[in-house]
């Protein structure tokens, strides 16, 4: 098999690959065509599994030699035992689920660590479009029109942090991104998207 050219790796995938430990067991919810799982399998020798609802993505995953289940995350993860995986990843699909709370609850049950990536709805360009122009925001991280968006839920970085606090989830790692790279300051205003690593009882950065 070919080695992936480093330049081809999406920034969020690169960060996630840095967080996942060597040889870990990984379940990705909404794994799409399996790019991230393949990266984790090759770079971290992770034992990887995916769940994906879109049939065309299943073909791509199978072509990559990945184990993937064609199912709806909204139906739950009852076939997996508590702590069955070192990592559960929900990257860029939380906002498309009908029941994101169920998915997150299941993810922290099944995964000892959970990595969540999502577009930040409170990015300043979204705020301007909504507040000044009075239009539903269309941003690089949320590139859809209101009538064709797959997104059902819109959340900001602050929303997610508050969600974790309310549900007693500890935030063990976090990275904020815009289209030029990672950023540190005023993430809820300046970040297009965010990545969090959370767990039920890990070290908390929330205090």
């Amino acid at each position: 098999m070919n080695n992936t050219v480093p330049g081809d790796i999406r920034p969020d995938h690169g960060i996630i690959a840095g967080w996942v430990s060597e040889g870990a067991s990984v379940l990705e919810l909404g794994c799409g065509g399996g790019e991230l799982l393949q990266l984790l399998s090759r770079r971290k020798h992770a034992s990887v599994n995916g769940i994906e609802i879109d049939e065309s993505y299943i073909f791509s995953c199978v072509a990559r030699g990945l184990s993937v289940a064609h199912q709806d995350i909204d139906d739950g993860l009852s076939e997996y035992a508590d702590g069955a995986f070192d990592f559960v990843i929900i990257n860029q699909c939380l906002q498309e689920l009908r029941r994101p709370h169920t998915a997150l609850s299941e993810a922290v049950r099944v995964g000892r660590k959970v990595i969540v990536g999502f577009p930040n709805f409170a990015h300043y360009s979204a705020r301007i479009q909504l507040a000044v122009q009075g239009r539903a925001p269309v941003t690089p991280a949320l590139p859809y029109q209101w009538y064709d968006t797959p997104n059902l839920h819109f959340l900001s970085i602050s929303d997610f942090v508050q969600y974790c606090a309310k549900n007693r989830l500890s935030i063990d790692r976090k990275v904020f991104l815009n289209n030029r790279g990672t950023i540190r300051w005023w993430p809820n205003l300046l970040a297009g998207s965010a990545l969090f690593q959370i767990s039920r009882n890990g070290r908390s950065l929330l205090k």
Binding site: I58, C61, G65, L66, S67, A69, H70, E79, A81
Partner: protein
């Protein structure tokens, strides 16, 4: 399909006979049966380390002739669109074996075979057989062919059940399994349809408690059974597409003669079937399917636990005879049991028949799945 005259496509059915007295086969029921003959065909070449063998199982009415052409035939085997050079089961790379099942009537020992004790066909003296018995006899064939470990076992419907049973009976001998449009056990609805078929056969006066050999076979009953079967193999949508409410071209005008195309089709299928299939085999095999229960009260995940065979499970959305939920149950049990499984639910309007007809996506999945298992030969996690 246009026939191409390639000598490699001419295949013939072979036969293996074993378990002659006193070493008869002990069946799951405890009864003994022997000698046993299995009809089988092979395609492609076994490689030097004997690691490229794929065992294919047929469905209820199928036979060992899965691919290629028999001399003089103008129709290929039943899974020819999946098996052959460059196809999903690529015979340039793999050695593909298809075996007829015990209890059948297409060259393997079944109720129409001669009972060595009486010199006449067994009829209902033939013992009840199970899917496990089918698999155990195939294991003898694989032994005979000098194959220790199969690259893959695969089949649709009843063939999928055999694939599942193979994994459970011989986990160390199967590296991967592709189970298509199948179930770990029959639902009441599936049993119900089979029972209607069996009752139709047995209601035919010619059935004569199974002792019709040498006389007139119960063709009406078997034909009705097949008609019911065919309804369950299709879908509302595929029937509407294929027949609509169109009438047949030739109508005789009798009151209850079939005049819709769909009626004519079912009759044609029924009449065709009785020419090639034995009514008693139909009873025995459908019974084996109804009794099949991989779970066996133990919980399927416990049955599969620790098995290192890699699974590909495929279901079809319009299949209402073996609905997708049954495939999902298999996958769920794999996940709970820590068994590596990939699942895909394919869009198709063909109903249960899709595994024989809707092959483009199925071919893609199968081809890549096997290639991956094959490439990772020495790389299996322990």
């Amino acid at each position: 399909m246009q026939r191409t005259d390639r000598s490699t496509e001419i295949v013939e059915t072979k036969y293996l006979t074993f378990a002659g007295p006193p070493g008869e086969l002990v069946l799951e029921s405890g009864e003994r049966l022997g000698p046993v003959t299995l009809a089988y065909e092979t395609y492609g070449k076994l490689d030097r380390d004997r690691s490229n063998a794929i065992l294919v199982f047929h469905a209820l009415s199928g036979d060992a002739h899965a691919a290629g052409y028999h001399e003089g035939d103008d129709r290929p085997g039943w899974w020819d669109n999946m098996i052959g050079p460059g196809k999903a089961f690529d015979t340039d790379k793999y050695f593909v074996i298809c075996s007829n099942v015990i209890g059948g009537c297409q060259g393997s020992t079944g109720p129409s075979s001669e009972n060595p004790r009486t010199g006449r066909p067994y009829g209902l003296d033939f013992p009840l057989i199970s899917v496990r018995d089918m698999v155990d006899t195939q294991a003898r064939l694989i032994d005979q062919l000098g194959i220790d470990k199969l690259l893959c076992v695969t089949g649709g419907s009843m063939g999928g059940m055999q694939a599942l049973q193979w994994v459970v009976s011989y986990p160390e001998r199967v590296r991967s399994a592709i189970a298509i449009a199948t179930a770990a056990r029959h639902s009441p609805q599936q049993i119900a349809f089979n029972e209607v078929g069996r009752q139709a056969v047995m209601a035919d006066p010619n059935w004569n408690n199974g002792a019709y050999y040498g006389g007139t076979p119960p063709t009406r009953g078997l034909s009705v059974a097949r008609m019911v079967g065919h309804i369950t193999y299709m879908s509302d949508e595929s029937m509407a597409e294929k027949f609509g409410r169109r009438f047949k071209d030739i109508q005789r005008g009798d009151k209850f003669e079939p005049d819709f195309e769909v009626e004519g089709y079912l009759q044609y299928r029924g009449d065709n079937f009785v020419r090639r299939f034995d009514a008693n085999s139909y009873l025995y095999i459908t019974k084996a399917l109804d009794y099949f229960d991989l779970d066996n009260g133990k919980g399927l995940e416990n049955v599969l636990k620790g098995i290192r065979t890699k699974f590909l499970v495929i279901a079809f959305k319009s299949d209402w005879l073996y609905p997708a939920y049954q495939s999902r149950e298999i996958v769920r049990a794999c996940k709970l049991g820590g068994v590596d499984a990939t699942y895909c639910e394919l869009n198709s309007s063909y109903g249960h028949d899709a595994f024989l007809l809707e092959t483009a996506e199925q071919e893609y999945l199968v081809k890549h799945f096997i290639a991956n298992v094959s490439e990772n030969n020495g790389n299996v996690r322990t």
